[in-house]
């Protein structure tokens, strides 16, 4: 589905077509839920954040500026909601490895699963600003420009922060034995 089709769906929603919004949910619930999950580190919280944001997006569709991508707009809402959520909910809970393995890992993939959990844990150790750029670039596949829009920072800052985040992550992974360098 193209960006133009997203805008058509938004226009349909604005005249009361809830089914059109259902199609936008189908398209974006997974990346948005995953963004919330990576920031909040809790499956149930991520579900609540995603639900809240979709409802809020529906109610604020008239404020959506079609000059931007719908995905970037709603992604920004998820990020803000998730950040507000974790700032309200201190101390922060970490992603439960047992929970994570429950919904995606067969037993014969135990080793790989453990590795993934360790990678997630390493990312979770990053300071929030750096964690976000890693999540956006590597897991949401957002281009620099959209990351800049979501975080309200210049593209140049996105690049430098991403570089620093990778450096920090490398150190954490090295310390945790996830990577070794010759």
């Amino acid at each position: 589905m193209s960006e133009t089709e997203d805008i058509k769906l938004v226009k349909a929603c604005l005249v009361g077509d809830t089914k059109a919004f259902g199609r936008l949910i189908d398209k974006y619930e997974k990346p948005l839920f995953n963004a919330a999950l990576r920031i909040a580190d809790d499956y149930d919280d991520a579900r609540d954040i995603t639900q809240t944001v979709f409802v809020s997006a529906y109610e604020n569709l008239e404020n959506f500026n079609p000059e931007y991508k719908f995905f970037s707009w709603i992604y920004r809402m998820v990020v803000n909601e998730a950040i507000n959520f974790i700032s309200r909910k201190r101390p922060q809970t970490k992603l439960d490895p047992d929970m994570a393995s429950d919904y995606r890992t067969p037993e014969d993939e135990h080793h790989e699963s453990k590795m993934r959990e360790n990678v997630e844990q390493a990312v979770a150790e990053l300071p929030l600003d750096y964690r976000l750029v890693i999540i956006f670039r590597h897991w949401a596949d957002l281009p620099y420009r959209d990351i800049g829009f979501v975080l309200d920072i210049p593209e140049k800052t996105v690049k430098s922060r991403l570089y620093s985040a990778r450096r920090m992550l490398g150190k954490i992974m090295s310390r945790n034995g996830l990577v070794t360098y010759e």
Binding site: R104, M115, I134, V179
Partner: protein, 257 residues
């Protein structure tokens, strides 16, 4: 060659944004510069590790819950709010709004006084004494044929709604059991049918409301009642029934033909 250039090229390569020209330039640098090779290798390993993390499937009921919430919010915005709701809304407003709240409170007070003195014509509790229309006696009941039925059994409530009609009247019989307080809402087009009466059952009823094209019955436990509508003779559109607990739990169109 400087550090900024190396970092820029490594980042671009990693993010799939590098041009052929830049790629050649990167390779030149890598051949000459061991620390650049190390840096590139580090970043590639990190990217590989990050790529092992697969996206998590969201809950299967996420979409349904979102749409239910949207539906419920639309309903909540549309339906009349109680005095308590309005009071709570004012109470939670910021300090800056206290002055407005005071003025609004005075206006509400005056309105309540007027309502007490003169009553209101819209959005009143159901009162059969004030309703006019088709008179149905027990003897008429055989003349009614069943035109639609709706069963519902979400966790919060279960029930059966039966629609019967003859040439002039439509009866909507509701038998329902709920563990918590629920609200049944019936929305209808008044050019199609007119609300004519309400026959109370023997259940626990908390409250009823009616206004143009809208009837609400709130209750807890077992309840049974019949809503009576008069056929206007125009083309008939269905009556839409919603069941609300904390949120919308069931919706169905009741066919009248």
């Amino acid at each position: 060659m400087n550090n900024a250039e190396i970092i820029e090229l490594i980042n671009k390569e990693l993010d799939g944004l590098i041009s052929d020209e830049e790629f050649e330039r990167l390779n030149e640098i890598l051949e000459m510069n061991p620390s650049a090779r190390r840096l590139r290798a580090e970043h590639r390993k990190i990217a590989e590790k990050l790529a092992t993390v697969e996206p998590v499937e969201p809950p299967s009921d996420l979409k349904v819950n979102i749409l239910k919430k949207i539906d419920a919010r639309k309903y909540a915005l549309a339906r009349p709010r109680s005095v308590i709701d309005r009071f709570l809304e004012l109470w939670t407003r910021s300090r800056a709004a206290y002055a407005y709240s005071f003025v609004a409170g005075a206006a509400v007070g005056a309105a309540v006084l007027l309502v007490c003195l003169y009553g209101i014509s819209d959005h009143m509790p159901l009162n059969n004494n004030e309703l006019v229309g088709t008179v149905i006696t027990q003897a008429d009941s055989d003349e009614f044929r069943v035109v639609d039925k709706a069963e519902f059994s979400p966790a919060e409530a279960s029930g059966l709604v039966t629609v019967r009609r003859n040439n002039g009247a439509i009866l909507v019989r509701v038998d329902v059991v709920s563990s918590d307080e629920i609200e049944l809402v019936f929305e209808f087009d008044e050019t199609s049918v007119l609300f004519a009466g309400y026959e109370r059952g023997d259940g626990i009823e908390i409250g009823t409301l009616s206004k143009e094209g809208f009837i609400s019955v709130r209750h807890l436990g077992r309840n049974a009642y019949t809503l009576v509508f008069e056929d206007t003779g125009e083309q008939q559109t269905p009556i839409t029934m919603h069941v609300y607990s904390d949120s919308l739990v069931f919706s169905e169109n009741l066919d009248l033909r």
